[in-house]
Symmetry: C2
DNA sequence: CAAGATACTTTGTAATACGAGGTATAGAAT
DNA sequence: ATTCTATACCTCGTATTACAAAGTATCTTG
């Protein structure tokens, strides 16, 4: 009920940052994030897939289907050129923002 | 349209962290945050006051009116004991969360 | 054959930042 | 005198969005 709200606004950024390293598919992304953050961030399907579709519609990502030998279809997402450009902006914005919050939140002993 | 979403979930935390240092009133809080974060975070009244009321209702804050000599009323907010306890939790949660996001978001060269 | 993991989808709901509007006072500028 | 700016509070409606929950389908493992 609180953790949930923290993610708002940074999920899209995280997805774009991940896909900067190369195309990935949904399930893979979720696992990657879960592992890389020691389960601090556990992307739920109800957030992940809508977020990917949203970014695709905004032109940040492009998607393509790929069938595995066993017949399982996977939808891969990759960052567009526009997505790359916007990622740079949002990364900087996140850094500014998180530094600002941390400054206020870390107790007065620093100030 | 994006910055807005980043704030979700961390506004309450920031307010509680500020009030840890002593009672403050709404306008003062907004100015303090704006100054302390070099205007990165600019709390709007439509967010600030509802957030304060919310925290009050949740028992995190207590409020009292105080009249200045010139007749202007100010509503001061202070952290409750329960608020103090919850603040500790949320502070830790924010640190975990922001570290996790930063890890994913900072490019692959670190990994 | 049942159970779990993999893999994607959609619908409805709850939470919340903020725009925009409102009220009221004090002091400075025109 | 009046307008403007700053201070100081409030509330309603809207947009956004994470997620729970449900569904579909395949493959592997017990």
């Amino acid at each position: 009920m609180f953790e949930r709200e923290l993610l708002k606004g940074s999920l899209g950024l995280m997805l774009m940052a991940l896909l900067e390293q190369g195309p990935m598919y949904g399930y893979q992304i979720a696992k990657h994030v879960r592992d890389q953050t020691d389960e601090v961030i556990d992307l739920k399907e109800g957030s992940l897939y809508p977020a990917l579709h949203r970014l695709e519609k905004e032109g940040m990502l492009e998607a393509f289907w790929q069938r595995r030998e066993d017949g399982v279809d996977r939808r891969y997402y990759q960052l567009t050129a526009e997505g790359m450009r916007v990622l740079t902006e949002r990364r900087a914005q996140w850094n500014r923002f998180s530094a600002a919050v941390s400054k206020v939140v870390s107790d007065g002993s620093i100030q």
